[in-house]
Amino acid sequence: MRWLGLAGLSVVALTLAVVLGPAHVAWADLGRSPIVRELRIPRALLGFVVGGSLAVSGASLQALMRNPLADPFLLGLSGGAGLGAVAAIALHLGGPWALPLAAFVGALVALGLVFRLGLIGGWGGGVELDPRVLLLGGVAVGAFAGAVMTAIISVSEAAQLRNAFLWLWGGLSGASWDTLLVLCLYVPVPLLVLLAAARPLDVLALGEEPARYLGADVTALKRRVYLAASLLTAAAVAVSGVIGFVGLMVPHLCRGVWGQQHRALLPASFLGGGALLVLADTAARVAVAPRELPVGIVTALIGVPLFALLLRRWTAT
C-alpha cells in the first residue's frame, strides 16, 4: 500500500513536471512541442534521478557516519565542485561541458582528499576508515575549498567568475537528453553498490564491533559506502549544482514510514527523493513565472515544515 502510494506520487510528480511550466503548451501539443520533448521531459527525468541519488546517498551516509545529520554535501564535495567550476572559468576552459566536467573533477579531488584523511590506523593493525575523522575531514576540506574559491573570485578580474556561484546553486537548468543519458549510464553502479550494502548497513547501526561479530566485513563496507555515496553526489553536483535538504530529509521522512531496514529504506528514499525534487523543480519553474526560483530554496520550503512536523512527532514519543 505504501509502496503503491510512493509509486503513485512519483508518477504524479513526473506528470505534473511535464504538463506544467511557465510556457503555455496546449494539451493537444504536449506530444509534439519541442519545449516538452527537449526541455520538460529530460529535466523531469534528470530531476528524478538526481533527487533519488541524493536521497540514497544521504540515507547511506547517515548510517555510515552514525549521524542523523549527515547530508551528501557535508563531506566537502560542494566545495570541491565549486572550486572546479571556478578553475574552469579562470583557466578559460571552453566548451559546453567544461563547467560540469570541471565540477565533477573538483568533487572527485575533494572526495579523494577526505577519504585519505579518514583512513587511520586501527587496533587491528590495518588502516580503517574512521567515520568521525571522515566527517571532520569533509567539513575541513569543504571549508578550505570554499575559501580558496572565494579568494580566487575576490582577487580575479573576470566578471564571469561570480557566475560560478550561480552555477553551483543552479539547479536543473542544464538538463538535456545528453545529460540524462550520461547520468543514467553512470548512476546504476554506485546505486547498486549501495543497495547491496543495505543489509550490512542495518547491522552497522549496532556499532562497528557488534557488526563484525554479526558477520559484516566492516572495513570494506565503510569504504564501499563512502565511495559509492560520494560518487553519486559528485555526479549530482556536476549536473545540477548543490541541491540541499533532499539528501538530509527524504531519508528521515522515509524512516518514519518504512522503518530502519535499509533494504526498504534505500529504494523508498530513491523514489521519495526523486518525487520531491521533481515537485520542487516544477514549483520553482511555475510559482513566480516568468521568473524561476532556485530549486534548493523550494526543496527547503517544502521539506523543512514536513521535517519539523516529523521531528515533533519523534520527540513526543
Binding site: 557488534p210 561479530y213 522503518g259 530502519q260
Partner: protein
C-alpha cells in the same frame, strides 16, 4: 580432535601499539561443545583482549588462535558469525528499532546479498525469541526495554545466528540479582540442552563458580590458573589476583568467595 574443539588458543600474546607491556602473554584456552567457560580477572587483566583474539579481531603476536582448527583471522566474518555468536559489552541503537527487527539482524550471516528473508530465517528468529523468553516483547521498541529484557533480546539475536559457541562479554554488568541469575540460568540451560558451548567474561567470581565448567583466571595478561572452579578458585590464588583478603567456602559443591574486611593494622 576429542569432543568437538571449537575455540583453541595456544600460548597467545598481544601488545597494543605504544603500550609498555604485553596485554596478553602466553595464555591458552580450549572450549568444547557442552562447555561453559568463565573468564575471570581484575580490570585490565586482558579479558576483552583475549576475547577479541578468539574472535579474529586481533592477530596474536605469538601463538595461535583457532576456531574449528582454522586460524580465527583467516575466517571470512560471515562464516565465523555462523559458528560464534557474540553478546558484546556495548552496542548502540542509532535509529529506533523493534525487538523482532533487532533479533532478525542475527540472521545476517545466513542471508544472501539480494535475497529476502526465508521462512527458515523467521523460524530461527521465533525459536531464539522463545528460548530467551522474549516472544512477548517481539513488537516492542528496543528503547522501551528494561536492562534485563534488553540483554535477553541481545542473547536471542546471537542465538538466531545458530552458532556453536556463544561469547558473552560481561553480560550482567548492570543487572539486578534476579535478572543476573536468570541470564546465567538461561546460558547454562542452552549449553546443557542444546549442546552449545559458551564463554562468559565476568567480574562475578561466585556466579562463575556456580555455573561454569571451566574457569580461566587472568592476572595482568597471564593465566593465573585454569581448570574446574574448585581447582582455580582457591583462597591463595584469588587473594593474590584480586589483591584483597577473601574467604572461600564450599556451597552446593562449588567454591564461593566471601570478601573480607581489611584487617586493621
Amino acid at each position: 580432535m576429542d569432543r568437538d574443539l571449537i575455540l583453541a588458543l595456544r600460548n597467545v600474546s598481544a601488545r597494543y601499539p605504544g603500550a609498555a607491556g604485553d596485554a596478553l602473554s602466553g595464555v591458552s584456552l580450549d572450549v568444547r561443545a557442552g562447555d561453559l567457560l568463565a573468564i575471570l580477572g581484575p580490570n585490565g587483566s586482558g579479558k576483552t583482549t583475549l576475547v577479541r583474539m578468539a574472535l579474529g579481531l586481533l592477530v596474536p603476536a605469538t601463538g595461535t588462535a583457532e576456531v574449528l582448527g582454522r586460524p580465527a583471522t583467516a575466517w571470512p566474518r560471515r562464516d565465523l558469525a555462523r559458528v560464534v555468536g557474540v553478546v558484546s559489552q556495548r552496542e548502540e541503537n542509532l535509529f529506533p528499532q523493534r525487538v523482532r527487527e533487532s533479533v532478525l539482524l542475527g540472521r545476517y550471516p545466513h542471508l544472501s546479498v539480494w535475497g529476502g528473508e526465508r521462512p527458515e530465517d523467521h523460524l530461527a528468529v521465533a525459536r531464539a525469541l522463545e528460548r530467551c523468553d522474549v516472544t512477548a516483547l517481539a513488537d516492542r521498541w528496543i528503547r522501551t526495554l528494561s536492562g534485563g529484557e534488553y540483554q535477553r533480546v541481545r542473547l536471542a539475536r546471537a542465538l538466531a545466528q545458530e552458532p556453536r559457541v556463544l561469547v558473552l562479554d560481561e553480560p550482567t554488568a548492570s543487572l539486578d540479582l534476579r535478572h543476573e541469575m536468570e541470564l546465567f540460568e538461561l546460558v547454562r540451560d542452552l549449553v546443557d540442552t542444546h549442546g552449545l558451548a559458551a564463554v562468559v567474561v565476568t567480574h562475578h567470581v561466585n556466579l562463575a563458580a556456580r555455573f561454569a565448567d571451566q574457569v580461566l583466571l587472568l592476572d595482568d595478561g597471564r593465566s593465573a590458573a585454569s581448570g574446574p572452579p574448585t581447582d582455580v578458585l582457591t583462597r591463595a590464588t584469588v587473594e593474590r589476583v584480586f589483591a584483597w583478603p577473601v574467604a572461600i567456602e564450599p556451597f552446593d559443591g562449588r567454591p564461593q568467595m566471601i570478601p573480607l574486611r581489611k584487617p586493621s593494622p
